[in-house]
Subunit: 358 residues, 2 copies
């Protein structure tokens, strides 16, 4: 029998029954924390010297490396919807957001920390089914395991609103992490994978009748929708691609596409104090996505990076295609940061990033 | 004029007026993030190599040191109340929770990260007053500055429920951090400061008439209540005391008193696989606190630590009194983890930690 939060809660309550213990809310919290601790195992590595169970975890980079750290807050109704998304997908997406930031630095994930706020009913299964929180952890821990990322700590609170703040610590060779600020005039601009798939999947999900969406939220995804919903429900952080760029000293700057190409490229331009030209015809469009979704749809979690003209970037890195989509230019007063080049001429591309469910 | 989120939002909107920009919600988020970045300054240190502004911050411990990391989630209605607590106190308490975990490891804070969820109206001031979020940051950043802790990153989202997840990174000499698990049979048990003050303050706050509580939440604390409410509204993490213990190799184990003595001592006993005896007459009781508040009230953020009998612990460390309150014993089957010794004999002390506002 696999360790589940719910089983652990039951065992915990049986053990404690009759004992004079504190208020049940806090005891339940402690039981859930213990269950998560069991599910996380006893993760230790060279870098993670102490995991869950103390006031803090202990971390030490390997010689010649440094740490990177990111936090990403996901809130029900804004970053996910309990009535639209399967719990496994919500857990996966929470972890993917953090891992993708680590990928954008070209770093290797070392440890994750989860602060979780949940309504009490999400910790209890209905009619013999697994509890929501266990299925959430299934999705989260599966992606974490795929990238050798132990869960090293966190916090838990009962909350009327479901929310999860994920903290990721990564490691990169000292001074070699990819920054947003390193691009130079004339650098070529690349993206990994295809763009717009996540936005197209969300659009498709939003157009489903309510009963079918409820089935999807319960985890019953109709076979005909699986491929199209995949980029939205289960985006893949590009860790191997980011690490490849660092290992080969190939990129001058990088960012992950979480808010959408127009917004994230603006961030990269601002931090590098440059402008950019994007070739519309070169954009790798995900099957079923529109140009608007490619340009402004977020949550694809592909990498956007720059490299000197002289550096050869392969057509695929670790199995994922890489496409040259434009170049970095000198910013000019009165001209937009980003220019989109189409067959009908060029036009300014303003940041219109994806804003989740608003 | 000091940088405030609200001023920055106004300037930002003026600059952008007329430009074809994205949905206002996300733009507002970006403006608030930029304002927080300005308020945080450009914090760099030997350990914090890159702060706010990229996908991740970059951190590197000094030679011979390692990092500790903790996350603490605070949610409106559970850890604080918008209608009871001044925004400065909420910000202070959020930061104090994180810093106190660093103190419990005997570490020095290196960087803080804040994931903040707020209703939109908390970013706007009413009738010429500063916005709630700015006053929250005032309280948070003041405590951070007092302990040389730069804000190095985080996340922000509009949320119907106000919440803040604080991440603290600290540094300690490698292998010297204080753990919960290091106590040995016969060790003496100590606490810093006085106990029960935070719970007594909360009790006092809860008994105020609603109009007075509203005034307090607005920041107008009646002079006659200030001293009594201080331990609840503005608890002080014991960083210098924890660092003293590490520097002198004085303690075998430590934990901070966030959930209350009975609960936190249980954690320390469990991790050290020991039991404990507490001498009721020795407990340092905060003026106005009851024995129940001393034993079970949380959020005092004092340190609870163990030291070998042979080690001399001074009566005060860095200006804060230290009191011997008991000793660590071998656990016995059928006997409670913690025994409270009183003039009328001994009795089991079960964990009944403070459960905030439930």
């Amino acid at each position: 029998m696999s360790t589940s939060v719910e089983n652990y809660l039951k065992i915990y309550k049986m053990q404690r029954r009759g004992a004079q213990i504190g208020s049940s809310g806090q005891r339940a919290e402690r039981a859930i924390l213990e269950a998560i601790r069991l599910r996380a195992g006893r993760p230790r590595s060279r870098e993670l010297r102490l995991g869950i169970g103390d006031d803090c975890a202990l971390l030490l980079p390997r010689p010649g490396e440094e740490f990177c750290l990111t936090t990403d807050l996901s809130i029900a109704g804004r970053h996910f919807r309990l009535d639209w998304h399967p719990p496994e997908a919500i857990g996966h997406r929470v972890m993917a957001r953090g891992l993708s930031d680590v990928a954008a630095m070209g770093a290797r994930p070392v440890a994750a920390f989860l602060s979780l706020g949940l309504p009490a009913d999400r910790t209890r299964g209905k009619r013999g089914q697994r509890a929501w929180v266990d299925r959430f952890l299934d999705g989260m821990l599966e992606l974490a395991r795929a990238h050798q990322t132990p869960l090293a700590g966190g916090d838990l609170a009962e909350s009327p609103l479901a929310l999860a703040d994920i903290v990721l610590v990564g490691a990169a060779p000292r001074g070699k992490a990819l920054l947003r600020s390193g691009a130079r005039v004339g650098d070529a601009l690349y993206v990994t994978g295809k763009l717009g798939g996540a936005a197209a999947g969300l659009e498709l999900l939003s157009r489903q009748p309510e009963t079918r969406r409820k089935a999807i939220a319960a985890g019953r995804i109709p076979a005909g929708l699986r491929t199209s919903l995949q980029p939205h429900l289960y985006p893949q952080p590009r860790l191997r691609q980011g690490q490849w760029l660092v290992r080969h000293g190939a990129a001058t700057a990088a960012i992950d596409l979480s808010d959408g190409l127009s917004t994230d490229l603006t961030h990269l331009c601002e931090e590098s104090r440059l402008a950019a030209e994007v070739d519309a015809a070169a954009l790798p469009i995900h099957a079923g996505a529109t140009l608007v979704q490619v340009l402004h749809g977020g949550e694809d979690y592909e990498l956007l990076f720059t490299a000197a003209e002289s550096v050869r970037i392969p057509a695929t890195i670790a199995g994922v295609p890489v496409t040259r989509i434009g170049r970095m230019t000198r910013p000019r007063r009165g001209r937009a940061r980003i220019t989109l080049q189409t067959s009908e001429g060029s036009q300014p591309l303003m940041p219109q990033g994806w804003e989740h469910f608003r």
